[in-house]
């Protein structure tokens, strides 16, 4: 799972974030400090309904 920094409190915004041991990733995501880049893989799913009807 890859993450991108979303707050200057954690580093340079836009940089890839590599969590150190012991860091609570869920808390960082919930607080808006990082974003998961895994969303792009979801959008790659083919949508079955398109043009079927």
């Amino acid at each position: 799972m890859a993450y991108v920094i979303a707050s200057p409190r954690l580093g340079t915004v836009g940089d890839t974030y590599e969590p150190a041991d012991g860091v609570n990733i869920e808390a960082l995501i919930e607080g808006g400090f990082i974003k998961s880049t895994s969303k792009s893989t979801k959008s790659d799913k083919p949508s079955k309904d398109t043009n079927e009807e």
Binding site: D21, N24, E26, A27, E30
Partner: protein, 136 residues
Amino acid sequence: MATSTYLSNPVVTINAVDMSDQCTSAVFTRMIESLESTAFGQTNRSYVGGLENSTLTVTMYNSFAATETYATLKALVGTQVTVKVKPTSAATSATNPESTLTASYMESLPIVNGQLGALDTIDITFTGGAYSVAIA
């Protein structure tokens, strides 16, 4: 004369988030519990070291804005957190050591500490965890 003056630039990180600009106080105390080892025949009490139980207590301005105090702490209550304190923002060195508590427990989070005509400030204490210090 040996003195340490803290003007404006100690660094406090909580769960890797730099919260220095919200902190007004940080007290990092190393503590190793004492176990009494006094035995018959002794005329004074004696102790040996037991488990380490160090603490970090920080006083912070409370803010509910995005990526501020509340956003940083709300998901950490009741969990183990890594916290770090450094005397100044300069590079870590023997004269600017970075103290760390790894897997320190955050028991409580005051949500509001409101008083008329005063800024909302909260005290957060992190207890236990493994102590380490970096000098480079």
